[in-house]
């Protein structure tokens, strides 16, 4: 039997309702059962649909659940869509999500009240629901529901420790920045609607493909607007500022939302719209550039960070940049492949860091860690595997996906971007090993009683680590380069249906095939760069205890400070937008509202009253004056009526 698609998101939704309404009363055990159970069920449901589907043709299956909005000439349904792309997404969203839920049990159990615990799982379930809606949606409007839904959950979960000012602020920041993106996304949607008169995927894409020449210019604008949405959601420059702050949330949240799933929604969306983007080359170029710049920019910042989660956060930003770079050069498969692998190893890394923080009782500063390899063996090993995978060491997953991207960039004849990507690969390797060394190598630099308390995490936490580490090691084989054979790249074959061939007017964008020799060469280069990065980091931080870094710092203090301060982008925005906004608001209120509008009106009223007060003294109380006014009236009247007669 086949489960209806709507079940997949519905189950977490039910979980959410149960937790939020009853959770506080039912206690932790029950909540964990519901919270994890619902996601588990969703996973099962998803895979029971997927398994037969993988065997099948890959033709999209659309399930129309109900009409949603009908007004004017707009008509939107609530309908879900299962096709290779969404299939790929739900496969790992559900699974990784499940693992992280399991992990959360261990992570959250101790330091939370029943209410807080229930709230946590409720939000997590709500997130699962939103994310699944996002990827399963069959039209832009419904996608936007999920799109904003995940934003909401990220807002709620970042602000989970609401009594911390920083957390509250971070949550708001995340939501507002996302909203800026959504602003673009909305307009993009409107653009699509006015171009194609529908918001259904099939309708839009088929019409777009049917007559590329006609929609070309309009599409460029639309795609750029959609991409604005993506930059917001996926923390690309210049809207990347929220993601690092988002680390204020509980670590599993960072793992699930801000590493594995939500942040990749942008990539998913762009890939989903690949037809449109491919018809708008300029837009694609922009995507590629933004992606490339973000990749290196974030990587550079990551080098200098000392907060373990921040390093990972910036690395996430940078990796997302990679994915957009891939999309930008048309290597959508590579992009999605990287989404997949990244989900595995980055989740693993975050959970690992979570285990470390957990072990050190909330300590996040790597400068007060070190030498934990012995104390936290499982964590250490899994962390290392994931780190190497991220660094792109063959045959781990990261290597293949990253290599696929670089190949794509190279094949698209974008040398500069290729250089960027390559360099970033080196940086990535460098900062990851820096992180590993600082955390696990050397001797412990924290306080004694921290040292005393250090303990390996409970199985609920380590189990997911192991699974994810395994995935990070193996997933890569889903997308072997073609040099390993025609059908080696299963992902590509699988995703083929959602990347239909297009006759792009003007230039011939498809067929990015490179000779096998070149491909080998590229692999070699990337491996070399990665290894170089690793070795350097190892030398500086593991062997020489970071003294070279100190020297570097001493030589270029300004540069170092700049990098540590993340290039002071936040400060810049504060100057450019936040403060002027507040100032303008006050001025408008005090000047326009109070002074001008009300001022004028009240002044008018005041004048009238004043006149009254003045005129009332004409009533002197003296009869003769009354007689006089009378006579004056008569005279005036006579002159007015008879004057000139």
């Amino acid at each position: 039997m086949t489960v209806a698609l709507w079940v997949v998101p519905a189950v977490p939704l039910a979980g959410f309702l149960l937790c939020i309404l009853l959770g506080r009363r039912l206690g932790k055990g029950f909540v964990s059962a519901i919270g994890v159970g619902s996601v588990g069920l969703a996973t099962v449901a998803a895979w029971t649909r997927l398994v037969p589907y993988l065997a099948g043709s890959g033709a999209p299956e659309v399930e129309r659940i109900a009409p949603w909005i009908d007004a004017g000439n707009l008509s939107v349904d609530i309908s879900l869509r299962l096709d290779p792309l969404s299939g790929l997404m739900i496969s790992f969203v559900t699974f990784v999500g499940f693992l992280i839920h399991v992990y959360s049990i261990g992570y959250m159990k101790h330091d939370e009240t029943d209410a807080g615990y229930a709230r946590y799982f409720a939000y997590m379930n709500l997130f699962m629901f939103s994310m699944l809606t996002l990827v399963l949606a069959n039209n832009f409007a419904l996608l936007f529901v999920g799109w904003e839904g995940v934003g909401l959950c990220s807002y709620l979960l970042i602000g989970y420790y609401f009594e911390k000012d920083f957390a509250a602020a971070a949550g708001k920041k995340a939501f507002v920045v996302n909203r800026i993106g959504d602003f673009g996304f909305l307009l993009g949607m409107f653009g699509l609607f006015s171009l194609f008169g529908t918001l259904d995927f099939d309708g839009v894409f088929s019409r777009a493909a049917s007559d590329p020449a006609r929609f070309g210019p309009g599409l460029t604008v639309v795609c750029l607007l959609l991409f604005v949405g993506a930059t917001g959601k996926s923390a690309q420059v210049p809207l990347h500022v929220w993601l690092p702050d988002a680390m204020a949330g509980p670590t599993p949240v960072s793992a699930l939302i801000h590493a594995a799933t939500m942040v990749t929604a942008g990539v998913y969306m762009v890939t989903r719209c690949n037809v449109l983007f491919r018809l708008a080359p300029e837009a694609m170029f922009v995507v590629a550039v933004v992606g490339g710049v973000t990749a290196i920019f974030a990587a550079v910042i990551a080098i200098a960070q000392t907060d373990i989660k921040r390093v990972l956060a910036y690395s996430t930003v940078s990796q997302l940049g990679y994915m957009f770079l891939a999309c930008g050069v048309g290597a959508y498969v590579a992009g999605m492949f990287h989404v997949l692998t990244h989900a595995a190893f980055k989740a693993c890394l975050f959970l690992g860091s979570g285990a470390v923080i957990h072990a050190l009782g909330g300590e996040q500063d790597v400068r007060r860690m070190g030498g934990l390899a012995r104390r936290l063996p499982v964590t250490y090993r899994t962390f290392l595997v994931a780190a190497l995978a991220l660094a792109g060491i063959p045959p781990l997953a990261g290597f293949f996906s990253k290599d696929a991207i670089l190949t794509g960039v190279f094949a698209a004849h974008r040398p500069i971007l290729f250089a960027l990507g390559l360099f970033t690969a080196g940086l990535t390797a460098f900062y990851m090993l820096r992180l590993v060394s600082l955390t696990f190598a050397g001797e412990f630099r924290g306080t004694p009683e921290q040292a005393h308390h250090v303990h390996e995490a409970p199985p609920a936490m380590t189990l997911p680590l192991v699974v994810l580490a395994f995935l990070s090691a193996t997933l890569g084989f889903l997308g072997l380069p073609e040099v390993f054979g025609e059908r080696a790249n299963r992902i590509a074959a699988f995703l083929a249906p959602v990347l239909p061939p297009l006759a792009v007017p003007g230039r011939e964008a498809e067929a990015h095939h490179v000779a096998a020799s070149t491909e080998w060469l590229l692999m070699g280069v990337s491996v070399a760069v990665a290894v170089a990065g690793l070795l350097l980091a190892w030398k500086w931080y593991a062997k020489e205890k970071g003294r070279p870094a100190e020297r570097f710092k001493a030589r270029f203090p300004g540069l170092h400070a700049l990098v540590v301060d993340k290039f002071r982008i936040d400060e810049l925005y504060d100057r450019l937008f936040v403060r002027p906004f507040a100032w303008l608001a006050r001025v408008l209120w005090k000047v326009v509202d109070v002074l001008l509008i009300d001022g004028v009106l009240n002044a008018g009223a005041f004048v009238v009253e004043l006149t009254g007060d003045a005129l009332r003294f004409l009533q002197t109380g003296n009869v003769r004056n009354y007689a006089l006014t009378f006579l004056l009236g008569v005279v005036a009247l006579v002159l007015l009526v008879l004057g000139g007669m």
Binding site: R616, G621, N622, V623
Partner: protein
């Protein structure tokens, strides 16, 4: 030319003059009684006009009118003087400049 050759113009001018003089008194005197006298004068001006016209029109109605007016004037005088007396009991004056409890 009317009765025995008195031009109506003269009569009317005279009545107008009386009316205006009454006006002067009513506006410029401060003694309530004098003011009232002036008003009586204005009414007499009106009477004169009526009689003049009556004569000119050779109608008796005019005299009836004046008859009534005089009667009314008498009544007014009675009431007015009563009011003056009643007021005088309070204020000890009938100088209208000094009678202004009620104002503004």
């Amino acid at each position: 030319m009317i009765a025995g050759g008195i031009p109506l113009g003269d009569v009317l001018l005279a009545s107008g003059a009386l009316f205006v003089i009454g006006l002067v008194g009513a506006l410029l005197r401060r003694n309530a009684i004098t003011i009232f006298l002036s008003i009586e004068l204005m009414m007499n001006g009106a009477n004169l006009a009526v009689l003049g016209y009556a004569a000119a029109l050779n109608s008796v109605e005019g005299q009836v009118v004046v008859f009534f007016v005089i009667a009314i004037a008498a009544a007014e005088a009675a009431v007015g003087l009563a009011i003056f007396v009643a007021l005088f009991r309070h204020t000890e004056t009938i100088d209208v400049n000094r009678i202004n409890l009620l104002k503004w």
